[in-house]
């Protein structure tokens, strides 16, 4: 089955700001980072300059374990864009740390995906110079 490989067509590139660069720098090193408020410790994603809970502008980040569960998912069929293989499953994963993150799902047939399924992050290189996270179901053996 498809592993979400692309034959080299680059994925759409993200717009990166000063508030989000830390995340993409982490991805380049195959690390999944979550922004953390320095003052109240709350984790947040997507990242931003201010803590919605305590208003602090001070933040750093933690490295996620990469484990989580599928909170919701879709299977994209249309339109077919060259950088992707279809049908293309995409998951909204609730990470162990409590924040949610969207990425491709591989290693499972589209019709076998279920909400609640445990998954783990891995990193792939869909095109030269482009690293992205994706999720794979955790197998019993794993």
């Amino acid at each position: 089955m498809s592993e979400g490989s692309t034959g080299g067509a680059p994925r759409p590139r993200p717009g990166i700001t000063r508030d989000t660069a830390f995340f993409w720098e982490g991805v380049a090193e195959s690390r999944l980072r979550i922004q953390r408020c320095v003052d109240c410790g709350a984790l947040r994603h997507p990242p931003g300059p201010a803590c919605p809970k305590c208003a602090s502008l001070a933040w750093d980040h933690v490295e996620a374990s990469g484990r989580g569960r599928i909170h919701s998912f879709v299977v994209v069929h249309h339109p077919k864009v060259p950088a992707f293989d279809y049908p293309h499953p995409v998951a909204l994963v609730e990470l162990e740390e409590g924040t949610r993150f969207v990425a491709d799902l591989v290693g499972v047939k589209a019709n076998a995906v279920e909400i609640g399924m445990p998954v783990e992050v891995e990193f792939h290189t869909p095109a030269e110079g482009q690293t992205l996270p994706r999720f794979r179901p955790v197998t019993d053996a794993g």
Binding site: R13, G15, T17, T20, S72, V74, V76, H78, V81, P87
Partner: protein
């Protein structure tokens, strides 16, 4: 709380071009045609227009449209962001301008060649990655293949099915109702083309759990509405549709199409906020509404809206839509014009026009004894809604 807006303004004119897949003319010309028709309908001229309110996605600037219709003095112009969420908010702008005396006759319009020109459903893969806040937002989705409105809405729809125990057949009931109503509307693209639940279930996947027949059309066309004071409306050509409530909403952790990080993904809190404001402004309850134009770019959010407006309990829309309850003759007929699945996708402004026709009693599918009509705007985005009542 004193409300200074309810009942102050009225929609007095509506106009629309034909709805097609290839208009054969510019978006600017479509805007001009629809506005001229709306002004004629009201018995007003371009010289009476002193305000305009439009969507930020509108490609025809107010000043150019105003020049083309032969306007002379424009005292108020405003734009509302967030796609189809602006549909009813443009009317709020108009009502506020009129209630405060800033303007007297305000035109709201939406003109687009959304099928023959730029199609929203083709994806944002070529969107320029920039260092702006809005561009970086899409960076959380586009690299992973969530490129279209259908893909973003499907994420909510899947969780909704999981939590409510509904099946995709519930989505089908919305599609069937829209298409039944469109079948009786000569202006609808799908005139005389009703569908069945079986047709819905057999239609191809776009983004699971959304099928083709869960997705609105792509349309070319324009709609314009003319708003003035309730007082002046009394002397005009048409029976006025009074704006008894009109509100916007955006809530905590609000995102453009991707509010995936809230505890609960089965509701639309920003539409709940709109609902509370509308009921408070108009001093009515859900049972006082005879028909509703529920924004239907994708069928699942119609179910959520029925719940947010209190027509049924949370998670029970799947039962509410059964047995023709949302069709003509049912308890709450929705989208009597055929909605954006059946009539056309004009970013919700064609739904406002249908609301006016229901108040006037001139709809192709008139609902009996209409006192109050609800119209909602785009969902999954910061949104808006309005209530129309009899003079």
């Amino acid at each position: 709380m004193t409300n200074l807006l309810s009942g102050k303004a009225a929609i007095v004119g509506i106009g629309a071009t034909e709805f097609s897949k290839n208009s054969g003319r510019s978006e600017l010309r479509l805007a001009v045609e629809a506005i001229r028709m709306a002004l004629d309908d009201a018995g007003l001229t371009a010289k009476d227009v002193d305000g305009m309110s439009v969507f930020t996605m509108e490609t025809n600037p107010e000043i150019e449209v105003f020049r083309q219709i032969g306007g002379s003095e424009l005292k108020f112009f405003s734009r509302i962001h967030y796609g189809g969420g602006a549909a009813c908010a443009t009317l709020q702008q108009a009502a506020m301008a009129i209630a405060t005396g800033v303007a007297e006759v305000v035109v709201c319009y939406r003109a687009m060649n959304e099928r023959s020109g730029h199609r929203f459903g083709t994806g944002i893969q070529n969107l320029q990655a920039a260092t702006t806040t809005e561009s970086s937002h899409y960076g959380w989705y586009a690299p992973y293949g969530l490129l279209t409105p259908a893909s973003w809405v499907a994420m909510f729809a899947q969780r909704y099915l999981f939590e409510t125990g509904a099946t995709t057949e519930a989505f089908g009931h919305v599609a069937v109702a829209d298409r039944r109503h469109a079948a009786n509307n000569p202006a609808a693209w799908f005139y005389e083309q009703p569908i069945t639940l079986e047709d819905h279930a057999a239609s191809r996947w776009i983004v699971e759990p959304l099928r083709l027949l869960d997705c609105c059309q792509e349309s070319d066309g324009a709609v314009a509405v003319v708003v003035t004071s309730a007082e002046r409306a009394r002397d005009l050509r048409q029976k006025p549709a009074i704006l008894t409530g009109v509100a916007q909403g955006a809530c905590d952790d609000q995102q453009m199409m991707t509010s995936f990080y809230r505890d609960d993904l089965t509701g639309i809190p920003e539409m709940g906020l709109v609902a509370r404001q509308l009921y408070e402004q108009a001093r009515i309850t859900p049972k006082d509404i005879q028909t509703a134009v529920i924004y239907d770019h994708f069928t699942p959010f119609v179910l959520c809206q029925l719940e947010e407006f209190g027509f049924c309990e949370r998670g029970e829309a799947k039962d509410f839509v059964q047995g023709g309850n949302i069709e003509i003759g049912g308890g709450l007929p929705i989208n009597p014009h055929g909605g954006q699945l059946g009539e056309a996708y004009i970013h919700g402004l064609n739904g406002v026009a249908e609301g006016v026709r229901q108040i006037r009693g001139t709809s192709c599918n008139p609902v009996a004894d209409v006192e109050n009509v609800l119209v909602t705007a785009g969902t999954g985005v910061p949104t808006s809604g309005l209530l129309l009542g009899q003079a």
